[in-house]
């Protein structure tokens, strides 16, 4: 339940059921996968048509529906929720671009030991040769860019060990 529960508190149980049957592996309520109806799914139908979260009831947001024992059930699980970006802890070992631009010079090699403040590469963007520096001591594990390459924002440029 805790893994997949969703927005509307009254319908938290129904959302759980929906996500499970949507082909995703989940720890909860395997019963729906087998095609058996469960209390959770039924409650989803009852609420969806009546007093549920209006977003889904009036069809303005595209919600997932599922078929159990020949009956179609609408769920509260909309695309926006499914596609939301989950929070990830910041990993200082993965160096990504903060701005789109062109790599014009790479100063390090794979396996090289580097220290904080050392220059990794030069990323030309916004009329500037931006110097990208190491924020920590370590060893270069892999480099994912070449000189002359154009990269977008949030592109993984280099990994540290």
């Amino acid at each position: 339940m805790e893994k997949t529960s969703k927005t509307s508190d009254s319908d938290a149980s129904s959302a759980t059921g929906a996500k499970t049957s949507g082909g995703k592996t989940s720890k909860t309520s395997g019963s729906i996968k087998e095609g058996k109806s469960s209390a959770a799914v039924k409650s989803s139908n009852g609420k969806g048509n009546g007093n549920g979260n209006g977003d889904c009831g009036n069809g303005k947001l595209r919600c997932k529906s599922l078929i159990v024992d020949g009956t179609k059930y609408r769920t509260q699980l909309n695309k926006k929720f499914e596609n939301r970006k989950l929070w990830e802890p910041h990993n200082p070992k993965k160096i990504t671009s903060l701005i789109p631009g062109t790599i014009i010079k790479i100063d390090v090699k794979v396996g090289q030991t580097v220290s904080e403040g050392e220059q990794i590469l030069i990323l030309e963007a916004m009329k500037m040769k931006n110097k990208i520096l190491f924020g920590m001591d370590g060893t270069v594990k892999s480099i994912h860019v070449k000189e002359g390459e154009k990269i977008p924002k949030d592109f993984l440029m280099l990994e540290m060990k």
Partner: protein, 514 residues
């Protein structure tokens, strides 16, 4: 001797209340690396200047057997004292008493000291360390929060308000710090959020620690809610003292003047700003070449670092600096840096602090995420803040000033009083590459060797427009100066602006693009 006995009685009563939540609770507080509320106030204020009020305040709650409980000072310490001789109003929530929870009397004590601060026209410092609303007192504690927010708003722009987060500050409570001018946080101790990790887990199924959700680093690097970040409470108090030395007591006063001092000679603008417009440098070194004793006190150091803001002194007078930072993201204006600059400009304007703007930016940051994040609305705040500010405004264009960025960064058109440019300045509507591609599109396309023609046209455009003299010829900049003349001419401009008086059209208030 009846009076003597009464005095003894008072002393005994004081002793009990000054213990706060008792020895066990104090021990727990100290084990968390935190000071007690009174210790915090005492170590922040000048020695022996703290005078406490409402020591014997008691709560009036009766439900849930609350009438059988006494809470020392109702969980908050209020009073007045001085920092470097300047009077301050201060309150500190006492976590050892009922978790510093905010009940009706607790809130009334805070609002009492807030009212004092507004009446006496002296700054307010609030130390937050509270579990939140006192549930037993129900809606009365909500009312208390509301009264505090209202006073924060009334005091805004009249007296400086400083919030120090030294413990949890969750739910509605976060809005008082959010309404104040400067927020201080301390690593591992400060925690601020609207909904805690538990709620996020229940509602969204995502797991996140308190530190990752609303710890000190998060608020000083990602959200920008905190202006100053410290490793310890002691460091935090030093930062507060330093800030207080730069700002005035109220909007009716000017900041205290200090004896002028020359900058350290190793900072020379000529050596700092590279001739190649594509080479980055640290704009803070340029500030250090300008301010007294090279002493620059940065605000919001870790958030939106492509804009540098902070205080320094010139000729002994406090100056607010707003500068692009070419070292970070090429110094572009984006959503966060616009917010950062705009709010700081409004603080300086409200408290009679002249503004020096150092310009070196390629423009606003292009990109879908920026556009969708509302860079139009946020960028407009900078224009609004500069246009509205009536304090002396001095601008120095160090290098690049292109497009909308040129207008936004304290340009003549937004009524900068003085605009200077270094000889390497490039003031144009857009960069030479982009401009040549548009203006000479036909020539380039129809040429036998388009690349050669394109390069030639770029050079032509660059020679003709990428300099300060076109703008100087139109009077948009007052003077093209040598780098070493910068401090001298700024000092002169500040002196000349001493009695500046500008009046905006009469209105209730403007409507900035919040």
């Amino acid at each position: 001797m009846p009076l003597k006995r009464k005095i003894q009685e008072l002393q005994k009563k004081r002793e009990v209340v000054l213990k706060g939540g008792g020895d066990a609770a104090i021990e727990k507080q100290v084990a968390m690396g935190k000071m007690t509320a009174r210790d915090r106030i005492i170590s922040l204020l000048d020695k022996e200047t703290f005078t406490e009020y409402d020591l014997f305040a008691e709560h009036e709650a009766v439900d849930f057997d609350m009438d059988k409980k006494t809470l020392a000072g109702d969980g908050v310490v209020i009073g007045t004292g001085t920092i470097y001789g300047a009077s301050m109003c201060i309150f500190a929530q006492d976590f050892t008493v009922a978790g510093g929870s905010l009940g009706n009397m607790h809130a009334r004590k805070i609002t009492k000291i807030m009212d004092h601060a507004l009446k006496m026209k002296i700054p307010l410092i609030g130390i937050n360390d509270s579990g939140g609303a006192r549930i037993q007192e129900g809606v009365s504690s909500l009312a208390g929060y509301g009264e505090i927010f209202f006073r924060n708003t009334l005091s805004s722009g009249v007296i400086p308000q400083i919030s120090v987060i030294l413990g949890p500050c969750a739910g509605g409570a976060v809005y008082s710090p959010a309404l104040t001018d400067f927020v201080f946080v301390v690593e591992k101790i400060s925690k601020m959020f609207i909904t805690g990790p538990e709620v996020i887990k229940t509602v969204l199924g995502e797991e996140i620690s308190m530190e990752d959700l609303g710890g000190a680093r998060v608020h000083s690097e990602i959200t920008g809610n905190a202006h100053f970040y410290a490793q310890s409470e002691a460091e935090c108090f030093e930062q507060i003292k330093k800030l207080v030395s730069f700002i005035p007591l109220s909007n009716l006063k000017k900041a205290k003047k200090f004896p002028p001092k020359d900058p350290i000679s190793k900072y020379q603008i000529e050596d700092i700003v590279p001739g190649d417009p594509k080479q980055p440098y640290d704009v803070r070194d340029v500030i250090k070449a300008i301010v007294d004793d090279s002493d620059f006190f940065e605000v919001h150091e870790l958030w939106a670092a492509n804009m540098v803001i902070g205080f320094g002194r010139m000729g002994g007078e406090t100056i607010g600096f707003v500068c692009n930072q070419p070292l970070v993201l090429a110094g572009v204006l984006d959503v966060d840096s616009s917010d950062k600059a705009a709010r700081f400009i409004r603080f300086c304007d409200a408290f009679n602090i002249p503004i020096v703007t150092l310009v070196d930016l390629p423009g606003y940051l292009p990109g879908v995420d920026q556009e969708h994040a509302g860079v139009i609305r946020h960028g407009a705040k900078v224009l609004y803040a500069y246009s509205e500010a009536t304090v002396p405004k001095m601008t120095v264009i160090l290098r690049k000033a292109y497009g909308g960025g040129y207008i936004a960064m304290g340009s003549r058109h937004l009524r900068a009083d003085f605009v200077f440019a270094l000889p390497g300045a490039e003031i144009a509507v857009m960069g030479p590459e982009g401009a040549a591609n548009i203006i000479f599109r036909k020539e380039i396309a129809s040429a036998e060797d388009p690349e050669k023609v394109r390069k030639q046209k770029v050079k032509e455009y660059k020679d003709k427009f990428a300099n300060p003299y076109v703008a100087a010829a139109k009077g948009y900049i007052d003077s093209v100066i040598e780098p070493k003349e910068t401090r001298k001419i700024l000092l002169h401009a500040i002196e000349v602006s001493e009695n500046k008086a500008v009046y905006l059209p009469k209105k209730k208030h403007g409507i900035p693009p919040f």
